[in-house]
Symmetry: D3
Subunit: 130 residues, 6 copies
């Protein structure tokens, strides 16, 4: 099910997306994630479009901050592949060891207070309501 589709074995439709990934990321390496979801071309197409827009389009959050948020989600979900790939991506965009350490401290703390809020069944303060 996770057969990885290499460029030379890919359909034209898939190759076009691989080419776009390489162009946008200025690399000639397609990582396993894309090669795996290429088994279902509509998923490959949709996912790449989404990732390209969400992580790369102009906006108020700079690219490194976006990667930190991505890691925070992946660590909370315990997704090993995404933790490994986005930690590498964040380092390539300038994440220092100190930044990673601060990020992990925040993720750890939020996971703690999330459970304290659940366990103590805390009612939302009026002023926090929308």
């Amino acid at each position: 099910m996770s057969y990885l589709i290499e460029y030379e074995d890919a359909s034209d439709e898939v190759r076009e997306i691989y080419d776009d990934i390489c162009a946008v990321r200025q690399t000639d390496y397609i990582n396993n994630f894309w090669k795996a979801i290429a088994n279902h071309p509509p998923t490959l197409h949709r996912t790449w479009q989404t990732v390209k827009e969400v992580m790369g389009s102009p906006g108020e959050l700079d690219p490194l901050i976006r990667e930190l948020i991505y890691i925070a989600v992946s660590v909370t979900n315990g997704c090993q592949y995404c933790i490994a790939s986005h930690t590498a991506a964040a380092q390539a965009k300038g994440m220092s060891d100190e930044m990673f350490g601060e990020l992990m401290a925040i993720v750890a703390t939020a996971n703690t207070t999330n459970r304290l809020a659940n366990g103590y069944q805390i009612p939302i303060d009026e002023q926090f309501k929308i």
Copy 2:
């Protein structure tokens, strides 16, 4: 279990922490989270020390970015109290609607790719390994 301990009913030990919360946050409002966990003073003490340090000490991530990461975790875990309180906190620190929109888009996307990585049982690329 979630009886909220008001300042006037609090022990000296708890009042001291409430005072510190107000001083650090420059407010006179203690939100329900602290009033609930005050039922177990060691948890109140430890949690406040941790939150104060992790969210407020000098570092490479600025305070607003820290709040965005906090929200990302809370949304992924589905903790309603923490989503409400930290969204309010982030707005107070300058989060714009556009920033919140970008944040949600990243959180949503990471939750998608986390599951695709799980489902396709994707092996970690050699170059992402540590």
Copy 3:
């Protein structure tokens, strides 16, 4: 979908289980959980048998400890109904405020270290392997 099936509206099959719940728990109150899943009698039957055995049969863990573990799972999952009902059950079995406080502290800490272990991609020590 969560129409609650009252005793007077229940089939004989469902009533028999309601009777057993009341007998085992020495109460005449059927809580909403059972009334809801009674919409699918095989699920009611299976779930009650399982809960009765797992929470009530003789074993090495005493009944209060079993409730604490149940709460730990429910808080980690953020299931509001189960947190409320099992906190009440644990109190009925003798959980003190101090025990609840200690329980929450452990749950909070484990949720923190779980994420640090994920984020730092920590390899399992040889001696912990089975």
Copy 4:
């Protein structure tokens, strides 16, 4: 990112914590968790203080019960490292195979009923409200 900091390569600040871990646990083995988070000394310091207090300070829950709760959380979150290390810790503190079996049965059951409660959208009984 998970480079493991050995004692001989550690700063004085980190060594002091390693020494305390060994003293408290009466061992001369520092497991990978601590060596990994030592990359961010404030996280190492805070996490060790928290774990030491929460798992080791006097209280109403005995040390083995605390480990069982820790395992319940780690299994629910699917954290492989924490499952392995805390199962080993619980065994060292006297967890029998029977106790582990009962623990798993409770964790499995709670995860089942948590989802039934979610899916049937069950309203909280008045008497369980706080």
Copy 5:
């Protein structure tokens, strides 16, 4: 943050998507989900395109089965809004009470065995490897 954008207050860009939702779903009711994410038009646009394709395009899984899978995920994550809205959607597409009961039973069982597999640290059988 969850200010709901009504049709009359919406930009042309948002109205166009609202119109498409109504056309595709043959309704004149826009539910709160779309009105909320309309605060960030790129997210509204991307999410609607994705949902329209994934839930509505021709394929091997029929529309009701797709809703059942959607509910299974939402119940596992404990997302109250999504459970409520997709349960309603599934009923509109023909889900019977019996089908819902079977669905919940499977979701409950899978959540149980997922944790048993985690807790017992079960190695993947050779023949299940890909």
Copy 6:
């Protein structure tokens, strides 16, 4: 803890269940899941009874659809063992690559909208309430 109990080392009680698994599944292969939970015979007995009924008894959902739902839960929880074993089971029951692709697309999308619903704190529409 995950010592796998082989048929020749099993008690009569466990062997009887192994025999039933083989008879029901028309195979002579007992997979590791059963061999591991056999360490706690009541859990083996209860889990097998539940799985046999939930996945195999007559009902409105056909066996392949039940496997797809099982995978959806396992992927959302990130349970590697269950993803591997139930993907194999689904393939054995006729799941095509296209069906798997559609399944993953739905799971990915639901995980995205679950988080958007959480983050935007969306109130449940009156008409979705039960």
